[in-house]
Amino acid sequence: MTRSVFRFWLPLGFTLLVSAFLILPVLLSVLAGVTLNWQRGPAGGLTFRWVAEVWGLYADTVLRTLLLAGATAIADLLLGLPLAYVLARHPSRKARLMEELIMLPVAVPGLATALALIILYGGWQSLRGGSVFILIGHVLFTLPFMVRSVLAVLAALDIRTLEEGAASLGAGPWRRLLTVVLPNARPGILAGALMVVTLSVGEFNMTWMLHTPLTKTLPVGLADAYASMRLEIASAYTVVFLLMIVPLLVLMQKAAAAASGGR
């Protein structure tokens, strides 16, 4: 097959240019993170000193971020699964409205949500000072993604008819849930959970407002590092972050592809 310049090579070049724009800075940051002195450039010598230093400073932050992401995913499952199931089984105008409502924290900037949370609950010290406060923000922001992911899979399967099939064979509601609904929703649950974890690990807008010096997460630490430390350390910190988020992202995209395709 011959490829015409106009239809193929030109747009390909353009697309490559775009991807260069997206990838080049990432490579720069990785390079800067392992360079002894960025002013003199990579030729001046490479080192893992900065990465090690960052790890020493922020290991607890990394751990907290992961725990928080895990907790967010669990909370989303507990809240989102029943909701998605109800929405899938009873599609009505009311259900649509509820779906719209829970989307609001995504549509409205995190900054506004965070400010609202602080104003209403900020005086409540035990809540304001803990990680739970951040968890609430993260759950608000990520819940719709979990619900949508599960809902999409349930809708594509026509879960209603599958359940009717099970019922016609004598299965009661619990049995249908355990043998038909949950096993078939698994790809959606998995994709949703991975997405939630990825979003939670990377969330900054809300977390920055909600955090205290004792409850920093990775992106918050990043902002600190960018504001106050030398470029090499900031880059090294970015490298640590990339090492966490990129595998998550790849997994998430695989899971999402498995949840939507293959059927």
């Binding site: 026509d158 599958l162 009717e164 064979l169 004598g170 043998t179």
Partner: protein
């Protein structure tokens, strides 16, 4: 299908539907008050265009939906209206099959048996028996998404029959298949239903399917039952214009009563051809000059030699359909007629069937109805 026929372990169930209507929450009335008796062991076909309420009626009988207050469903005299489907012991084949994608073929078929608490070795035996009966034994361990449409259909049937249901419900089971496969499976389902002897309800919008499978056919339209009868009655004694037109093709000639015939623009159709049995029961014979309408099926008219026909018209088009030739004729009545004739005629070379050629017809059977009715 294949294998040994199923043992009859269940005495067939008789079903009564009493005053069942169904209004959806959005106000749409899917079903008007319907009364219906399904005899023990018969296969009843529910036939009608989409939206006529046939699937709603099936879902009421299945227990997937509940009638408006006042309606009752009785299984062998026992009121089951309040029972959900899982407690009615019915088997159901869904239009989309509703096979569980997280289970293998064998696990799908075993699902209902497992719920009944059947011992594992008996269960395995029953599953094997079912798969062999449906001739899909080699597919036992396949995943559902590796099956073709016809194979899925067989799995769905096996799954529904395995727990020995008292009633088998089939909701447009062949609609998703292509024409050839549909014909083959129709024959197999027919044999299966006869062998099982289970009461069965078969919903379809395909009149050929309903006629071939149903001991009786229920024709529905706009949420009501238009006619209940054997396939022969439905076809040859349709209870109204809707049934006549929905089941097969119906020709109509308007004319006036004149002595022993009906006078129309193309000539006179002798009344003897109508046959006494076709006159609406109890109807008085109208007097001469009264406007009447003759109805007949395309195969009830034959092409006659010149001078031998009852009526004359002009060919507008003719089509070779393989097993028969379809001829469109104008000028006999006010609307065009469709006539079908067998035999090895090639309308492309036969000048008598060319467009514009004159044609004479003998009409062999012509139900008579006062104009505007039936």
């Amino acid at each position: 299908m294949g294998g040994q026929p199923e043992r009859r372990t269940q005495t067939p169930l008789a079903i009564r539907v009493e005053g069942c209507a169904r209004t959806f929450p959005d106000g749409v009335r899917a079903l008007d008050r319907v009364d219906l008796d399904i005899r023990a062991g018969e296969t009843l076909a529910l036939l009608g265009p989409s939206g006529c309420g046939k699937t709603t009626l099936l879902r009421l009988i299945a227990g997937l939906d509940h009638p408006d207050p006042g309606g009752r469903i009785l299984f062998d005299g026992e009121d089951v209206t309040a029972l959900p489907i899982e407690r009615r012991r019915v088997g159901m084949v869904f239009q989309s099959y509703a096979l569980f994608p997280n289970m293998s073929v064998a696990a799908n078929v075993a699902y209902g048996l497992k719920i009944q608490g059947m011992a594992p070795d008996m269960r395995r035996a029953r599953v094997t028996e079912m798969l062999e009966m449906m001739r899909i034994a080699p597919l036992a361990d396949r995943a559902i998404d590796q099956l073709s449409g016809g194979q899925r259909q067989r799995v769905a049937l096996a799954r529904a029959i395995a727990p020995r249901p008292r009633l088998l419900l089939l909701d447009e089971p062949l609609t998703a298949l292509d024409a050839k496969l549909r014909d083959a499976l129709r024959v197999e389902i027919d044999q299966l239903l006869r062998a099982l002897g289970t009461t069965a309800l078969y919903v379809t919008h395909d009149q050929a399917e309903a006629m071939a499978l149903g001991d009786r056919v229920v024709v529905m339209t706009h949420g009501r039952i238009a006619q209940i009868g054997t396939p022969y009655e439905i076809y040859h004694r349709p209870a109204g214009r809707f049934v006549a037109d929905f089941v097969g093709l119906m020709n109509r000639i308007r004319g006036t009563l004149s002595g022993d015939g009906v006078r129309c623009p193309g000539g006179i159709v002798p009344l003897a051809a109508a046959g006494p049995s076709h006159r609406p029961a109890g109807a008085r014979r109208p007097g001469d000059g009264a406007p009447v309408e003759i109805q007949f099926r395309p195969e009830d008219a034959v092409v006659a030699a010149p001078g031998q026909g009852h009526v004359r018209g002009t060919v507008t088009a003719s089509f070779f359909l393989g097993d028969r030739v379809r001829i469109l004729v104008e000028g006999v009545g006010t609307t065009p007629l469709t006539v079908e004739t067998g035999g090895r005629i090639d309308p492309l070379t036969d000048a008598t069937l060319a467009a514009g050629a004159p044609i004479e017809l003998r009409i062999q059977s012509a139900p008579l109805a006062p104009e505007g009715e039936a």
